[in-house]
């Protein structure tokens, strides 16, 4: 028997807070939980970790993790390995992003035209994208090894030491490998975008006397601009986070640490050497860098 009168909330107040269709919250709840649990919580926790001399301990153990302020960030900025990592991200992006845009745009245009075995080629370019990284890396290791197919073809022109253990060639090979691996996905994006370019524009261009090449540069390329923005931003973000390649293709950031990437360093310091505070600082510096590059990309590419 409840004596107190329940504090009734009026329907109108409820509606103002929950909207006309409160059940909508139920539908988005699973994804919100996923987003908070898998992305938001670890993200904010890593910000917290980066200010401490953090280390992993058994659950429930009471340990002292001293507050170190910005020391982790200062250490990262002075660390020659981190500098090599940042340099490698730049080498990687300078090769990977333009190559990805150019090659996937040209291939998508070709695959959009009526060419023989079109379905076969579309599938063939998509296969590397859905192949397990470890398997694809295994093949590339063979191709570019000292006695591999590539060196057999190059013969006396092959670099010495061989590609993946050569301080100059290791990063370009990684960039080319990632371009090849991701090409299928970006071709798919461009193929979809090509369907949105009105046929009339091509007709108008041909009436004006444009050949195939001219109409590619004056109709196709501008028409694909929104897709290009997406491709550039996606490939910069996934590219700046490259890890599998230095981990597997060059055997742990080799040769002589010349192919380390920031994410690889996060793994080495955070997981292998149990300095997650330092690793978190590296991660956040990388995230800031990627944000800045993405902002510049939007600013440059997203006009009109």
């Amino acid at each position: 028997m409840a004596a107190a009168t329940p504090a009734r909330i009026s329907r109108t107040t409820l509606r103002t807070w929950l909207g006309d269709q409160p059940i909508g919250y139920l539908f988005v709840a699973p994804f919100v939980v996923y987003l908070v649990g898998i992305y938001a919580y670890p993200f904010f926790y890593s910000i917290y970790m980066s200010f401490f001399d953090y280390f992993f301990a058994a659950p429930g153990a009471v340990v002292d993790r001293p507050f170190v302020g910005l020391a982790n960030y200062a250490k990262a900025l002075q660390d020659p390995l981190f500098r090599i990592g940042i340099r490698n991200v730049f080498i990687f992006l300078v090769i990977n992003v333009p190559l990805t845009v150019a090659v996937s745009m040209v291939l998508a245009t070709a695959l959009n035209a009526a060419i023989p075995f079109r379905a076969f080629f579309r599938a063939a370019y998509y296969v590397p994208y859905i192949t397990a990284s470890v398997a694809a890396v295994g093949i590339w290791l063979w191709l570019f090894s000292g006695f591999g197919l590539v060196n057999k073809i190059f013969g006396p022109l092959a670099p010495h030491p061989s590609w993946l253990i050569n301080a100059f060639w290791a990063m370009p090979i990684i960039a080319v490998y990632v371009t090849w691996k991701g090409l299928g996905f970006y071709i798919l994006l461009y193929l979809a975008a090509l369907q949105t370019i009105p046929k009339e524009l091509y007709e108008a261009a041909s009436v004006d006397g444009a050949g195939r090449l001219t109409s590619f540069f004056t109709v196709t390329v501008p028409g694909l601009r929104p897709a290009t923005l997406l491709v550039v931003i996606t490939s910069v973000i996934t590219g700046a986070n490259f890890f599998t390649e230095p981990y597997l293709l060059t055997g742990g950031g080799g040769p002589d640490n010349q192919s380390v990437s920031p994410v690889f360093l996060i793994y080495r310091f955070g997981i292998e050497q149990n300095h997650p505070g330092y690793a978190a600082a590296i991660g956040l510096l990388l995230a800031c860098g990627v944000l800045i590059i993405s902002a510049v990309n939007r600013f440059v590419l997203e006009r009109d």
């Binding site: 006695f147 080495r268 050497q273």
Partner: protein
């Protein structure tokens, strides 16, 4: 197995080859690795897969010489000052088993551990694999085996003098420092060996003192 070596480069022989880390280093440094001798047949197979142009062989082959082309034997690890052979120690790379305190059937597990490391089981291990059991006085305990396999006697003697890889906090970080110095100086020649290992030693001392 072996094919002809084409260029005129320095020739190296990799002893204690394992899967071929040292062979790889030799190759990078400009050697042709002509032969490699390992102990464990599985490692030797890996070596042969990794370095098809190099003649690699395991224990049995070492007794005969690599494919009959190299006359070789086994000795303890060389030391800086030429120590007496009988007092040289080596890394054991021991394999251990342990029982967790949270184990549910401790009595049975203990019986099993005792059985699987008993003198008889160790004898079987030695018979089947040629691996040296963790046990004092191997030559005395398994005299019949070593009289049948005299080449293994040296391994048995050596098994009496082993040291373990030191296990200290942050050892992963120290090994990484050591590897980095080794890659930089010995493999890639980007720094003198002395300077690289001096720096690595300083770095490791800082890590130890933390």
């Amino acid at each position: 197995m072996g094919t002809t070596i084409r260029k005129r480069r320095l020739i190296g022989v990799d002893l204690f080859a394992g899967a071929g880390g040292m062979s790889l280093g030799f190759e990078h440094a400009g050697f042709d690795v002509a032969a490699a001798i390992g102990y464990d047949p599985i490692h030797c197979a890996t070596h042969e897969f990794n370095f098809p142009v190099c003649a690699s062989t395991g224990r049995a082959g070492a007794e005969r010489g690599v494919g009959g082309r190299v006359n070789c034997g086994v000795v303890p690890v060389p030391t800086q000052d030429g120590m007496d052979l009988g007092s040289i120690a080596t890394f054991s790379d021991e394999k251990s088993s342990a029982m967790y305190s949270s184990c549910k059937n401790r009595g049975t597990a203990w019986d099993f551990l005792k059985f699987s490391t008993s003198k008889e089981s160790d004898s079987k291990l030695l018979d089947l694999t040629g691996q040296m059991p963790m046990r004092a006085d191997l030559p005395g305990n398994y005299a019949s085996y070593f009289s049948a396999h005299p080449d293994y006697k040296l391994f048995a003697d050596q098994a009496g003098r082993t040291v373990e890889v030191p296990n200290v906090p942050n050892s992963v970080e120290m090994w990484q420092d050591f590897r980095a110095a080794y890659s930089k100086s010995v493999i890639f020649g980007n720094q003198s060996v002395d300077a690289a290992f001096k720096a690595a030693a300083d770095q490791i001392k800082t890590v130890v003192s933390q």
